[in-house]
Symmetry: C2
Subunit: 227 residues, 2 copies
């Protein structure tokens, strides 16, 4: 029987590629999406489509973060537009959501323990998005320690691996890797604004475009939008 892995799936390029990577590595993936009131709830549709296409179990959990504190949550904070990619890594952006990955991983731990999964897969990336503190390797190591100390499984000597296969890749490398794995790029969603077509101006659109360009791969999502 295949080892199970809980795969955090936002519906974006990175999480979809991480999920396909887990499939390639022989895991039976259980996909987990958190609907946290994000401005771009559009990505949840992408997550559902990707899970459905793979024919895997998918759970989508709605939560509320009514205290805001992020441009992705709070209508009063603007999503930065048209920034130079070089400027993005210098500071933690307004799109940072307080403790988001810790909330995501804690739900993943809960499911992992209940289902007897051996791993949690996350599309965290410390290169292009190094400005998000909860995408750094030392953070993920601490979360593995949390699992050991917090859970029945951990208390009984069990471990969980947090797999972040994209952690040290550039966006171009992620695009190439995703292409190899057969990730349906046209079904992923990256734009923070969450309109019907990608805005092309938010950090997420700009990094995606740069990644596809440097990889020499056409992005079927923006191509479809341009038609």
């Amino acid at each position: 029987m295949k080892k199970k892995a809980i795969c955090l799936l936002s519906g974006g390029l990175d999480s979809a590629t991480a999920l396909y990577s887990a499939v390639r590595d022989g895991y039976r993936p259980l996909a987990l999406t958190l609907e946290y009131g994000q401005r771009h709830a559009r990505e949840v549709r992408s997550a559902r489509d990707i899970a459905k296409r793979l024919g895997i179990e998918w759970q989508s959990i709605p939560i509320r973060l009514p205290w805001g504190g992020s441009a992705l949550l709070d209508g009063g904070i603007s999503v930065p537009l048209n920034r130079a990619v070089d400027a993005m890594s210098r500071e933690i952006p307004a799109t940072y959501v307080p403790a988001r990955n810790t909330i995501f991983l804690s739900f993943a731990f809960s499911w992992a323990e209940a289902a007897g999964a051996e791993a949690v897969v996350i599309g965290a990336n410390a290169v292009d998005y190094s400005s998000y503190p909860d995408c750094r390797p030392e953070y993920l190591e601490t979360m593995e320690e949390v699992f050991r100390k917090a859970t029945k499984t951990g208390a009984e000597g069990g471990r969980i691996k947090i797999l972040a296969p994209l952690l040290r890749m550039t966006k171009a490398e992620i695009v190439k890797f995703g292409k190899e794995l057969g990730v349906p790029f046209e079904r992923t969603w990256s734009c923070y604004l969450g309109g019907e077509t990608p805005c092309g101006r938010c950090d997420s659109c700009l990094l995606r475009a740069k990644g596809f360009e440097e990889a020499g791969v056409a992005d079927p999502l923006t191509e479809a939008a341009a038609r």
Copy 2:
């Protein structure tokens, strides 16, 4: 201006006492309840009443843990009844909820960061409930480290204190402490079964009764039920 503290408030005796302790220590408490589909959702009413009585801000966040794995979640797993108190600490009980305190603390971190709070208060207790792994001191220390590594505040040198004022108290000591602080015991709720009156047979009822008895204090909740 008073320092803010996010106080995890289930509505039980311990979390109510921890909240009143934070008030005594000069914090401005913001109370946080997670409705996680617990069998004893009755306790959420208690949490609301306690917060209202103190006149403090209260957020109640509904979440779902559809994977179950606990007698408090899953109708198919029974809540243990009539166990000897000595037997309770020997193993992790069926009422353990996978990763519950990690989920609770991650929401608390999110609010703490958005509100600029200095502390998170939790009624965790490592004596009577030492069998829950996510109530141990070493677990809470690791979670402080998570905050340092996961958040913008932490990346900029800020810290959060996790205050667990009841961590090393017996249940009798908690009752005495709560009495000193003026905790409205009659408004707290402990029973896992969550009926209209406490069952008197689940671990939580039995530990509560033992605590009140050893403290030489009458429990107004069970007294009212007996009338």
